[in-house]
């Protein structure tokens, strides 16, 4: 069956009225749970799994997939409006998106996120349709040394995430790395920094940390003075992008899509890197890097495109190899199995209508999402006019409920309190939370892949340079360091890391 016949079959399946309905329900639900702080696609899909019993396999999987990529759209809404990222990817959007909202440019920020996501989603879906099997093969050549090298490169380039003092940024990364160590060491089973609490064995919950250091800390800061938040509400100006905005977002969207599509395919944590990597790239390439962190529209366009592209391409290892790239994909495996289909290399041949139907539905879903989200922008922006005394308790309550619903672990709620206070202290000290989150997310991955590479090579360090992909990535990382150290560039870097105060 050639690709066009396959896609034809896919669209015939996806365009059945019932399947369009399921797709719509999925993306609508996804948008809603994405918007509610804390409640993410993981909890929603887990809760909806029993309902999918009674649906057809195609309908069920189309709906669940819709929830996942729908949540990527919705997640950026709260990140932009109230600085509350629900997932690692939207944490990056919060950096500049929230600053845009504070300047009264919430509308353009939301529109940028929606348009960037739509473009990225469409491109990534095409990629999925044409190249899924060979891409999945290529991703398999990434072993532990390659992932280690990729994460080293990611960490080094992402230092650009900070826009304050470089010393403080490094301190935040290290703090994040340390926080990431909490939990049971997977190699020896030894609990680290758990203080005897088994609730901490699986580590700190990312959502607790993110909601705490970004959202709750921001609420505390807002409550300090009446003036700040009135400024934020009153200055909402235009809702749509200007011609100049369009010109500024084009290149970041294209680069973000490319980066996200490539990184999303890697099952070992590549999708996590995509938004961080895109942000760093945009800041490096920008002629005005000092605007980043203060409301640069490129800082929203790039990462949003990257994370949505990665969300789509992370289906590639699942659909072609049966390998879940992250927890949401693991739930999708569960959904497949409940429907009596074991995901794996056979799905494409045994169930062509299902395979191509899901792919076609993703494009339809992205179209539905952009149609759904653009008119909603006005409504979301109005949310900012809700009196803060009403808004902030609601945010905190939803965040706690959402966080608790993920693992039913009360320590995740304690985590919000702890990291909220910590985040507030960090704001007062002029430290950025973004590098902390980066360290927290990438630190454990770095350690895991490094140690695994060393175990497999039986202690031989040369494994990192004798394997070609790893060697190239590490050479690039070295290049980044040399560039940063070159005297001619030192002046420019001094501009990038302007001291704020």
């Amino acid at each position: 069956m050639d690709i066009f016949a396959s896609l034809g079959l896919g669209f015939a399946t996806a365009l059945e009225p019932m399947n369009i309905l399921y797709c719509f329900i999925g993306v609508l639900l996804g948008t809603l749970v994405g918007v509610l702080p804390g409640i993410g696609p993981t909890a929603t899909i887990a809760m909806l799994l029993p309902i999918t019993f009674s649906l057809s396999p195609v309908g069920a999987l189309i709906m669940l997939a819709g929830i996942y990529y729908g949540a990527q759209y919705g997640g950026s809404t709260t990140a932009i409006l109230i600085n509350l990222p629900g997932e690692s990817s939207s944490a990056v959007t919060a950096i500049d998106g929230y600053q845009m909202a504070r300047k009264g440019r919430a509308g353009p920020a939301l529109a940028t996120a929606a348009l960037g996501s739509f473009f990225a989603g469409s491109v990534a879906t095409l990629l999925l349709a044409f190249f899924a099997p060979p891409l999945a093969r290529a991703a398999l050549s990434f072993g532990p040394p390659e992932y280690f090298a990729l994460i080293v490169l990611g960490l080094l380039v992402s230092i650009a995430l900070a826009h304050g003092s470089i010393l403080k940024a490094l301190a935040m990364i290290v703090l994040g790395l340390l926080l990431g160590m909490v939990g049971q060491d997977i190699y020896t089973g030894t609990p680290r920094f758990t203080f005897g609490f088994r609730e901490l064995f699986s580590g700190l919950n990312f959502v607790s940390v993110a909601v705490g250091v970004f959202g709750v800390a921001e609420i505390l800061r807002n409550l300090e003075s009446e003036k700040n938040r009135e400024v934020m509400v009153k200055k909402v100006t235009n809702l749509w992008l200007t011609r100049d905005d369009f010109r500024r977002i084009t290149a970041p969207v294209l680069r973000g899509t490319a980066l996200g599509s490539v990184l999303g395919i890697l099952p070992g944590g590549g999708h996590i890197l995509s938004a961080f990597a895109s942000y760093s790239a945009e800041k490096r390439l920008s002629k005005t890097p000092q605007e980043f962190g203060k409301g640069a529209i490129e800082g929203v366009a790039g990462p949003e495109s990257a994370n949505n592209a990665a969300a789509q391409t992370s289906f590639i290892p699942l659909l072609t190899l049966g390998i879940p790239a992250h927890p949401v994909m693991a739930l999708m495996v569960g959904a497949f199995i409940l429907q009596g289909i074991t995901p794996g290399p056979n799905v494409i041949n045994d169930e062509p209508a299902l395979f191509w139907g899901i792919i076609a539905s993703m494009w339809i879903g992205n179209l539905l999402l952009v149609l759904l989200n653009l008119p909603l922008i006005g409504l979301w922006v109005k949310m900012l006019t809700i009196p803060y005394r009403v808004l902030f308790p609601a945010i905190v309550i939803f965040a706690c409920i959402g966080c608790y619903s993920i693992n039913n672990n009360i320590f995740d709620v304690y985590g919000i309190v702890f990291f909220g206070l910590l985040g507030y202290v960090l704001i007062r000290l002029g430290c950025e939370p973004a590098p902390l989150l980066l360290g927290f997310v990438l630190g454990p991955l770095l350690e895991e892949h490094f140690r695994r590479a060393m175990i497999i090579s039986r202690g031989d360090f040369s494994v990192f340079v004798t394997r070609p992909i790893s060697a190239v990535l590490l050479a690039l990382a070295l290049g980044v360091v040399i560039l940063a150290l070159l005297p001619s560039l030192r002046r420019k870097r001094a501009e990038v890391f302007v001291e704020e105060d």
């Binding site: 993981t42 899909i45 887990a46 799994l49 029993p50 019993f53 398999l140 050549s141 990434f142 072993g143 532990p144 049971q184 997977i186 190699y187 089973g189 030894t190 609990p191 088994r198 609730e199 064995f201 699986s202 099952p267 070992g268 290892p317 190899l321 049966g322 390998i323 879940p324 927890p327 994909m329 693991a330 739930l331 999708m332 495996v333 569960g334 959904a335 199995i337 409940l338 009596g340 074991t342 995901p343 794996g344 290399p345 056979n346 693992n407 039913n408 672990n409 895991e448 695994r452 175990i455 497999i456 039986r458």
Partner: protein
């Protein structure tokens, strides 16, 4: 006299009434089954399939609550602490029997802090290798492990995971150690096996059948006494000359300690009905397993399995020196 008799009857009646009402009324609200692992995993899938039918039988919704973390001991601990009213139950697998040895300060005792209700299924495991691994048969593999030992890598899904247990048993049966490479779950481990980054593993059919049938990985044996219907060409470990490697991932349904007998009976009847359900049987078959018989879906059978398995695993885990804390 007559009056007194009537009074006595009335008094007795009012005393008995709540008890009778309780027994009849159970369950009058949704029942929660704690699954101590993440949603989407094999144990979760088994639980949801069974829970769906039990829900019909009980006339009340059966909710699956995933409480992952600490190798399943967190969720099990929550179930142990729950009210013994039949509204909070637990589905746990073989990990229930290894936890007392793996976790040296476990806050619950699997044998005394739970009311066993019944066994659910025993999922077989398969000894697998990367697709281009040299050994042709299980006997060859055993020789190769003996000869090359730690030069070979064995991947598992983390401390206490079924693949970890099977690995310990395999190395003990062969009498040689390999280099163990732990992963965070089955997914990443399978990725590296497919990519040829590691040599061997042993995992539940739930996770391996599709990859074996597609020829993406090599399979040497199935770790149960009989061959499987959907992998008929795969010999058993006994046929392959390694009878000591016999292990299956058994799952059981428990309540907190002190569950009323009538509640246990009601739940056990619902469990038996679920295990006889057409859809459950069919889906279990697709997972490479079968529901246990009605005789095994009983408190007695579960207690016996749990007791003997705790005794089986204790020396193996201690010899391997693998402890979680």
């Amino acid at each position: 006299m007559k009056h007194r008799h009537i009074l006595a009857t009335l008094a007795l009646g009012t005393m008995l009434a709540p008890v009778a009402a309780l027994a009849q009324a159970y369950p009058d609200r949704p029942v929660t089954i704690i699954v101590p692992f993440a949603a989407g995993g094999p144990t979760d899938t088994v639980s949801r399939l069974v829970g769906e039918v039990m829900s019909r039988e009980l006339g009340q919704q059966v909710l699956i609550q995933n409480v992952g973390g600490a190798g399943g001991t967190l969720g099990a601990g929550q179930a142990a602490d729950a009210e013994a009213d039949g509204y909070t139950l637990l589905i746990h697998h073989i990990g229930m029997s290894t936890a007392p040895t793996l976790y040296r300060n476990l806050p619950f005792d699997p044998l005394t802090d739970f009311t066993p209700i019944g066994l659910i299924t025993e999922v077989p495991m398969t000894v697998i290798a990367r697709k281009d691994f040299e050994s042709a048969s299980l006997a060859d593999l055993v020789e190769k492990i003996k000869a090359e030992g730690e030069a070979l890598t064995y991947g598992n899904a983390g401390i206490g995971a079924a693949s970890h247990l099977c690995g310990m048993l395999l190395m003990e049966a062969v009498g040689a150690q390999m280099t163990t490479v732990p992963y965070q779950g089955t997914g990443p481990m399978m990725t590296d096996l497919l990519g040829g980054q590691i040599d061997l593993s042993c995992d539940q059919t739930t996770n391996t059948t599709n990859q074996i049938l597609a020829g993406e990985i090599k399979a040497y044996a199935v770790t149960v006494p009989e061959r499987l219907a959907n992998l008929p060409d795969l010999p058993t470990t006994a046929e392959g000359g390694l009878p000591a490697l016999e292990v299956s991932v058994w799952h059981g349904l428990y309540g907190p300690e002190g569950l009323p007998q009538e509640v246990v009976d009601r739940l056990q009847a619902a469990l038996v009905a679920a295990l006889a359900d057409e859809t459950v049987i069919q889906r279990f078959a697709e997972l490479g397993t079968t529901p246990v018989s009605a005789e095994e879906a009983t408190p007695a059978a579960l207690t016996e399995t749990l007791t003997s398995q705790i005794a089986t695993w204790k020396p193996i885990i201690e010899a391997a020196g693998a402890f979680a804390n």
